[in-house]
Every structure is written in C-alpha cells, then in structure tokens.
Symmetry: C2
Subunit: 428 residues, 2 copies
C-alpha cells in the first residue's frame, strides 16, 4: 500500500502547474495507493518562467524519453494534440507496460481504439478523466458508476469557451467577433480559436463520453460538427424573444449496434438547466432506461479542476483496478456511426433576412410546404432603415434533410438577402 | 478476468427485484470482471408473490447463513435497518473476508467506522453506492473522483419522499397530513414515515457523504436534524411570496479537524437549482477550493436507479481495486462534530401568528433587537375572520443561537398565538 510511484509529467502548462501544486502540497492524497513522487518533467521550453521551481526535477527534452525513463512508473501526458509527440510518448509508455494518465481529448477521441488495444495488450492502465468536463468526474461516472445501465443518450455543454462567448454576447450585446477578441485578450480563448468555436473540441469530448456510454470505439471522424461562428447577436435576441437561449450542445444517441455523435448550436428553452448554465460552466444530461435522467454541472476547465481530475486518475491507477479502457474490451467495441440527417427529426429555427417585398412570406411558406415542413410559429420584425427585415420561423418536428432542403429553396428566393440561418431546437 | 462470482442477495424488495432483473438479463454487464451469478437469496418470506421466480435459487432463512455459504463470493445486503439481521450478516461476511455491497444507509451512517475497521482487517471490500442518491453515483464521485480535492461543503436534497411531499403541497395546496396520506397510499411513503419526514434518512445519507468528503468517520449521532413535519402550507406560500421555495436541505461543512452535518427545512431562492429540483428528484452541490462548485441531480430512489447502483458496485468489486472504505484508512479517520448553533450564522425566516393587537410589531422588533438580530424584511398579511394574522420576517445574517433566543422571547409575547416557526435561508 505504501509504494512510492515515480511520476513523469510531460507538459507544464496550467494543468501541469496545478498538478505539481497538488503533488507537492499533498503527496499522500491517494487514500489507497502510496505516494506519488514527481521524478521527471518535459515541456517545450525549460527556461520559460513558471510559478514553481523545476530545477530539482530531472528534465527531458523528449517526452518519449521521459515516458521510458526507468524512474517513471506512471506517465502523465499534458502536451495535447491528437498526434505528434503526445501520441508517440503515450504509445511508448503503454508499450512498456506503464500506466498513462492523460488530459488529451483529441488523442483519445481520434486514436482511442488503437491506444486501448495497445494498453490492453500490455495490461497498462490508460485513463483520461481530465479530458472531459474538467473537475466533474463524468468519465468515471460513465465508465464505472453507470456500468450496469444501458445509457440511451447524452446531451450537454462541453466547451466552456463557446459557452462563455455566447453568454457574453447575450449579456453585453457585443458581436461574436468582439467577444472572441476580448476572450483571447483575457486568455479564455486560444490565439487560434478554431478548435473551440468550430465545435471540434466539444466533438472530441462527446466522442469520448459516447464511447463510454454505449460501448463503442470513439470515432471523432463520424461526428457531425457545427460551431458557433455562424451565431449572430440577432439570433441570440430573436431566440430569446421566442423563449430560448442558444447553446452549443454536444449530444450522442445510442443506435442499433453503435452510437452517433453531433455538435450544434441549439435553442434550449429558457427554463432548461442547460440554458441556465452560463459563462464557462459545463453541463451534461445522461439518460437511460433504468436511471432516468441524471444531470451534472461544474466548471469545465481551469488549472484547479483539471489538475484535480488528473490527480484522481493517479489515485485510481495506484488503487490497482483492472478494467478495459472503454466500456468493453477493445476487441468487443462496436462502431460509432455517422448521423443520418434524413433519419433524425426535430424542430428547427430558421432566420431569413429579406428585402421587404410583397409576397415574400408566401414564397417562404411555399418553399417549406414543398419540402414537407410545417411552420410552428413565425415572427416578423419591423423594417429598419436599410429595408432589410428578419423573418424568424420555427418548424414543427421534421427530418433534418427536409429542413435543409427547404432552406436551400428559401436561399434561392429573389427577396432573400443572405443564406438563412438554421439552428436546431432541443427536445425536452 | 472471466471468473464467475457467486452472488448472495439478502432482501428481495424493489431493489433486490431490480437487481435480479439486471443480473438475469445482463450477466456479463461488468466490463472487467467476469460473470455475476446469483447463487442464493434470503428474505423475510419465501412464499410472498414476487415478479420473478426464485424457486431455482438456494433459499436461506438466515441472511448470515447466506453470507457464510461457501457458494457465495460476494454478499449483497438489501435488508435495511441499522442493526439486527442486516448488521449481523454484513459483519459475518466481512469477517470471512467476503466483499459486501449494501444499499443500507442507516447501517453505514451509524456503524460505518466499526465496519470499515472490520473490512480493512480482512481486506474485504465494503461498498455502498446505492445508499445515497439512488442511481446518481455521488458516493463514487466523492470517494474516487474528487479524492485529490479537499471538499469544503456539501448541500442537497437527499430524501425524495420529503421533496415529493413539499412539491405536492405547493402544487396542490393540500396540507402536509393530506399529502403524506396520499403518498402512503401510492407507496411513495412508508406506513411509518418517521425516517423520511423526520429528516433522519437524509441525515444518514449526508453523514455518509460527509465522511467521504472530509475524511471523517460517519457519525449520524452528531447530526443536527429537523424534519418537514413542522412545514405548513402557509409557510410554503409565504416563502414563495418572498421569492423562496422550502426544501429539506441536508448539508455538511468541513471544520477544523473534522466536519459537521445537519438537515433542516431551508428556504432556497426560486432560481436556485435546488429550488427547481421538484418531485422525487435528488440534487447535490459539492464545493471545494480547486473544483469550484459541482452540481449533481437525478432520481434518488426507485428500483431501476438503485439496482443499477448496486450492480455498479458489484462490477467495481470484480475489478479488484484496493481502497479504504472511506477517504482514509479507518485508523486515520477524523471525527464528525456536533454543530454549534452559536457559531453558525445565516439569514432566517420567522413566521409568527398573532392576534391583531396594537404594538405587536413593536414588541417583536424589540425581542429581535434584544437578541442582537436585525430584520431584513417584514411582511404582514391582512387580518382574516379569526382575527389571527401571520407576520413573516426575514433576518439579516445572525448566529442561530441569537435567532433561537429571539424566537423564545417572541413566543412568550401575549399577542402571539403559537410558537413561531423559524426556517433557515440558504446561503447562495
């Protein structure tokens, strides 16, 4: 029980820094499994100023060399990125039979199956609580706590940056571009924000959760992804007038023999818990036949929560449970499937900018009727000085293929100024 | 990995029935640990009609004999009750080195420390996910997922029966007694409802969560407990007029060298997630320095969720992790402390029924001032035909001892018809 575990940490950003804080102030934090002692570190720059002293720790320029160091019993990968040095080092550790703790959602979402095979072949643990929802133990909940349940669906807010941007747009009335620039200035968004605002980060995360929930191999490539870069302040306000808030919702559904995964800006009713999760919060609904609906909410990122998740994984590895990486042995995992938009049905919000011409509503209605889509509600705002009017309509439940078809036809109308915006409305 | 585990189940009520359903329909549900095979059962009556056939399972009149049967590798205790046959059987199993899964909150809250010592002496696992929040894995979250965090406080709704009664009173305008009678008729409340409505069940549960959160031995005896039997419809309505909903809140706070635990009807702001968790839902806030605030919500009882929690514990035992029963080895657990009402401060709601006499508000104000309690708001309703008027006031933050002192003085006033009702207002 009192074994000392040599810990190698690759990547010394905010999470690595938070982890060093936990391990130095609470070396005996793991109730079951002895002492975690940092024996070596690796990062891009050795000399970069840091809030802690690394001069007494063995330094490795190459994270793979760190992973393979005989002093290292447990390898922590906090480098990030789906490929490159992170993947090489994780593979080296697993091949050597060393347990790996990682916060790298891109790596697990894109290469989870092959890494699980490798880990299971050498008996090394591969755990990644910190990859999703920061300090909220959603991974452990799906991997262990709900293992006796056949989860049917997941839906949540998994990207704090997008949630912060959407919340700020609503609260301050600033545009997407202005709020993004401010978030970058404050360090809440990356210099290249594509992973976050494009929905790719949320898709990585929900791919991992779906794998655990449905017993699938994670398959980011099959995800249907749309980001928040097309959400305008106008849409946030019109949605609010209709009783909704626009959130970037990552969701997953169990399908026959697998599961499907998607990320979309989605209108949530104002009294829905996900509509009320503002700022950088993350929230997740888990639904199953036996358990009903479980809701989890908490800060989805940040040094404290994420480092606490990494440390919990370290404690878990020390406790010595033997489990497959996902919900079943890698050889038994079923497939994640691409979403079929003709198959999936739901209500939609369509916002159209038109020049105020007689007959335009009739033409729009006709385009919808031709596609077999029924209108649920329609809202036209007064004409402004430019002569351009927004028309917003919500549809009755229709297949996504039919709605897309209708939008194509509306976009082609003479009076329509730009391609209409279509957002899904959450099922409640 | 493919070992077959002989499972003995003592107690065949709704949870036992749900568990038999899981184990018979999904014998390979545990990803890591082989097959769970029910080899024997025990219950009060063998012949009672049940939704499943037990004629092919070995029957034991005595649960201890079941626990000790050589066929049984893992003992499941679903009998309930803090003492008697449940405790005897669990002790026998642990003494024999057999892992125990239990849903028995009274047993763990009242005898957790001695059972943990016993389990740790023989190396047998003792797990109890189903004891708290049904299918929501709150126990696992605190025991494992947040192990690297020093949790500062917990607060939540842990008794679905009380939450159902309070919700129904508000929604239907019926009295506590009428809603309780209806809940008993529907099977939502026990024939003797004392454990639920008296707050004792919630106190058992929060004692267990506090032990896991703070590294304490559970100590139900130190809990400060008040139930919902003193909550009248009048208070629910007056609280609503003030912007609050009354909920039975179980909470726990880390104290120097331990923790303290309490259960009280509490006014929660209407926009607070706990105020919005209606019906039989459970909800829990977990707060810590690193993780910030995490919120969990889900159905707190029922055959499906609770049986899924028991099954997850079975899967966990099979996976073979080695951990202490609570957050530290039994020998290192610190003490749970009694709440000191002079020390704890907060806002309070005080409702007073008075005969409409001149000077009564002045006398009430004076009683509060003498006790050093400042009034935050005051609300007087019109006099009804009986000549009795409710006066409601909320206080500014004050020690609970001072508020109790003021209530004593107000109760002694001539114009006051009955002892004032005092409820705490949640800190947000």
């Amino acid at each position: 029980m009192n074994k000392t575990w040599g810990i190698g940490i690759a990547g010394l950003g905010t999470v690595g820094s938070g982890l060093l804080d936990i391990l130095s102030t609470r070396p005996n934090f793991a109730p079951a499994g002895g002492v975690a002692k940092v024996v070596g570190v690796s990062a891009r720059s050795r000399s970069r100023p840091r809030p802690f002293d690394i001069s007494k720790l063995a330094w490795f320029d190459d994270p793979t060399a760190l992973a393979l160091s005989p002093e290292v019993d447990l390898f922590i990968e906090l480098i990030g990125g789906s490929d490159g040095p992170a993947k090489a080092a994780v593979e080296a550790a697993l091949k050597a039979g060393k347990p790996v703790v990682t916060a790298n959602k891109a790596l697990i979402a894109e290469h989870g199956l092959e890494l699980a095979r490798l880990a299971e072949s050498t008996g090394a643990a591969l755990v990644f609580e910190a990859a999703v929802m920061g300090g909220v133990p959603a991974v452990k909940m799906l991997r262990e706590g709900l293992v006796a349940e056949e989860v049917d669906s997941l839906a949540g807010i998994l990207n704090g940056t997008c949630n912060y941007i959407l919340t700020q747009m609503e609260n301050t009335g600033a545009s997407f571009a202005d709020v993004l620039a401010e978030a970058q200035r404050l360090g809440y968004a990356e210099a290249d924000p594509t992973m976050d605002v494009g929905g790719f980060d949320a898709a990585h995360k929900v791919s991992i959760l779906a794998a655990l929930a449905f017993g699938c191999a994670p398959n980011y490539a099959a995800a249907d992804i749309e980001g928040i870069d097309q959400v305008e302040l106008l849409d946030i306000r019109l949605a609010h007038d209709l009783g909704y808030r626009i959130k970037l919702i990552a969701s997953a559904t169990r399908e026959e023999g697998g599961g499907s995964v998607r990320v979309h800006p989605t209108l949530c009713p104002l009294d829905h818990p996900l509509a009320q999760a503002g700022g950088a919060l993350n929230g997740l609904f888990i639904e199953g036949r036996r358990i009903g609906r479980i809701y989890l909410q908490g800060p989805g990122a940040g040094a404290g929560p994420t480092a606490a998740a990494v440390a919990a994984d370290i404690a878990d590895v020390m406790a010595g449970a033997s489990r497959p990486v996902f919900q079943r042995a890698a050889s038994d995992l079923s497939q994640m499937k691409a979403v079929d938009p003709g198959h999936r049905a739901g209500k939609a919000y369509v916002r159209i900018l038109v020049r105020d011409k007689p007959g335009v509503i009739a033409a729009i209605s006709e385009a919808l009727a031709k596609a077999g889509v029924s209108i649920d509600s329609i809202l036209q705002r007064p004409v402004d000085a430019s002569g351009v009017v927004p028309i917003v309509l919500t549809t009755q439940p229709a297949s996504e293929a039919a709605v897309a078809d209708a939008v194509d036809h509306i976009a082609a109308l003479d009076a329509v100024v730009e391609r209409p915006r279509m957002f899904r409305i959450a099922r409640t």
